[in-house]
């Protein structure tokens, strides 16, 4: 006799066990090690002692770095959301355009950062082409323009693909229905398209934000030396020749993880509500 299929959401979780164990082993071990180091319980030299000194020693840098990283992540995610959503709406029904947009996704951020540097630096391609005197300080400048531009460029394609995938097959008929009910293009966008796209957009933006917040290489390559975004600070301290700075690096990493998890938690709640509204 055939067994009935489980109801959605009630399927047993054991098939995911190997993946869960692997993730917990790798990520969990790393997080525990970092936490122990940050709290002085796993020193490279000396006697283990519970202490918050590592946080206090770089407290000012942690604050500045966190604010800076949040600002970079917020700015790049906002641009990626707008560009990605607009691209997604253009993608619906145009396969070749979807393929073109997807070309950005496999390009590594490091390559993207190098390309962005060559493009936007004061001795870069754009400055030479335009021949503009007094080229703005886009790379290594005060406003971190090149860093934000690189993240936005790369993540907008990711946002576009995710949102276009979520809208595929659903949007067309509902937009037509709205039009026949009297909604013009703007009203259709506001009352139908955006609410439908919201869950996928929120999910994509969360991933983009957390990535931009926690990644090191783009900010290190295209940013200025000071102040340092949180991941750059953590990386520099972890490479320091002074072994006493390792707990400080760990403290920066702990802050990075805590803030990242907090963002994910808030986004998960919002996503749950958004999904409940649209399904």
């Amino acid at each position: 006799m055939a067994r009935p299929l489980p109801r959605p959401g009630t399927a047993p979780g054991w098939p995911a066990l190997p993946a869960v164990v692997l993730v917990l082993a790798v990520v969990g071990a790393g997080l525990v090690t970092v936490l122990l180091q940050a709290l002085g319980l796993l020193p490279l030299i000396g006697v283990p002692r519970l202490s918050g000194a590592a946080f206090g020693d770089v407290g000012r840098d942690l604050g500045t770095g966190t604010a800076l990283s949040l600002a970079i992540a917020a700015a790049s995610t906002a641009v990626a959301a707008v560009v990605g959503l607009a691209t997604a709406l253009l993608l619906t029904g145009r396969r070749w355009l979807g393929a073109a947009a997807a070309l950005t996704v496999p390009v590594p951020h490091l390559v993207g950062a190098a390309a962005m540097g060559l493009l936007l630096a004061d001795s870069g391609v754009l400055a030479r082409w335009t021949g503009m005197a007094g080229w703005p300080e886009l790379v290594g400048g005060r406003w971190w323009v090149a860093v934000v531009a690189e993240y936005a460029w790369k993540e907008s394609a990711f946002v576009a693909l995710l949102v276009a995938g979520a809208l595929a097959g659903r949007l067309g008929p509902l937009r037509e229905t709205a039009a026949l009910l009297g909604a013009g293009p703007w009203r259709r966008l506001r009352h139908v398209t955006l609410p439908l796209a919201a869950p996928a957009l929120l999910a994509a933006c969360t991933i983009s934000f957390v990535y931009a917040f926690g990644s090191y290489e783009v900010a290190a390559l295209l940013g200025r030396a000071s102040p340092e975004p949180l991941p750059v600070l953590a990386y520099r301290l972890s490479r320091s020749i002074q072994l006493t700075e390792r707990p400080q690096a760990a403290a920066a990493a702990v802050v990075l993880v805590v803030v990242g998890l907090a963002v994910v938690a808030v986004a998960a709640v919002a996503l749950r509500r958004s999904l409940a509204r649209t399904t």
Binding site: L174, L180, L181, T278, T279
Partner: protein, 354 residues
């Protein structure tokens, strides 16, 4: 009014709809009836402005709608799927046409509540579309369409996905709310066509392969199909090839007098099964029961009649429980006024018989 409406999806390819010209009098119901791929849904989309015309015109009150976007045509559509907005409550779905026109929320909601009452769904305002049954969702979609205040209501197979009870409910609602609304109904179901196009001015246009086969009141389609395609689409089963000579159809059934003059030559006699009478053997046209199939409360009896030139198969209906058995000799009576002869080719409407 649809005037020479044509649509091609591929350059140089066959037309999905080829020069369709049919009047749609204000307040009447026009049914576009046809099998899948006949172009009927394309016609509806062209009328709604959801697709561009390749040729022809769509006129509303004499005005050409070319260049008028769907949102300004004052047409609403009830599709096969309810297409409710999942992110809105039932009340906000019905209030949607008012919301997008900038009507104050309180007034929009008051009207939406009245519309929900009218479709028999009071108390459902706060629910989400996903919490309703298919029939209830379709009723909400109807309330929403009516809230848009359309001049023309487009119905694209509106009950195809519903069970029998829900279908009947939606049909009854449509009949009740219709008033002076012009209806354009697309369906493959002749019963649905007959149910909704039952007023004097209502017409049915039968389409096949993008071409108009016949345009007539539904009763005439049943009684006088213009072609084999129309006869088959309306559930006709009996097709007896023969020859028309001097006003009679000559076939294995004999030389049957026709009710109207028909040009001499080859022709197929079509008769609806419910109009053929089964009588005791010895009277009427003699035949033998070849097959019996139960169709709900009725049985479809296939009678083989051997005659000059071969054997003809005639289908008749009998009440369930009173049907003869296979092999029984029976008689058939085909009243003169139900005999129709159509050209032998499927789409022989060009040789339209009177």
């Amino acid at each position: 009014m649809l005037d020479g409406v044509t649509r091609r999806y591929a350059v140089g390819g066959a037309a999905a709809l080829d020069g369709l010209t049919v009047p749609v009098p204000g307040g009447a119901c026009l049914v576009l009836l046809g099998p899948s791929g006949s172009g009927k849904s394309t016609a509806l989309r062209l009328v709604a402005g959801l697709e561009p015309l390749d040729a022809g015109r769509v006129l509303l009150d004499g005005a050409d709608l070319a260049g008028v976007p769907p949102e300004r045509r004052r047409m609403a559509m009830l599709a096969q799927r309810p297409l409710l907005f999942g992110h809105l409550s039932v009340l906000d779905n019905v209030a949607f046409p008012h919301t997008v026109r900038g009507v104050p929320r309180r007034r929009a909601h008051a009207d939406a509540r009245a519309r929900l009452d009218a479709v028999g769904l009071p108390g459902f305002e706060r629910r989400r579309p996903g919490e309703l049954s298919g029939g209830q969702q379709q009723r909400v979609a109807l309330a929403r369409a009516l809230a848009a205040g359309p001049r023309v209501l487009l119905l694209d197979e509106p009950t195809t996905g519903l069970d029998t009870g829900a279908r009947a409910e939606v049909h009854e609602l449509l009949r009740r709310v219709r008033a002076d609304l012009t209806l354009l109904l697309v369906t493959h179901d002749p019963v649905e066509a007959a149910t909704l196009a039952d007023r004097p001015g209502d017409r049915v246009a039968v389409l096949r392969d993008g071409l108009l086969q016949q345009h007539a009141p539904v009763g005439e389609l049943y009684a006088r199909p213009a072609s084999l395609t129309v006869a088959r689409l309306l559930g006709g089963r009996t097709e007896v090839p023969g020859t028309v000579r001097a006003g009679r159809h000559v076939s294995p059934l004999g030389a049957l007098q026709l009710p109207v003059p028909v040009p001499a030559g080859p022709g197929v006699l079509v008769v609806r099964p419910e109009l053929v009478e089964l009588v005791p053997a010895g009277s009427g046209i003699a035949g033998t029961v070849a097959e019996v199939r139960v169709l709900g409360a009725r049985a479809l009896v296939t009678v083989a009649v051997a005659g000059a030139g071969g054997t003809a198969r005639v289908h008749a209906e009998a009440p369930l429980g009173r049907q003869p058995a296979v092999g029984d000799p029976v008689g058939l009576r085909v009243p003169v006024d139900v005999r129709t002869v159509v050209p032998p080719s499927e789409d022989g409407e060009r040789q339209q018989l009177p």
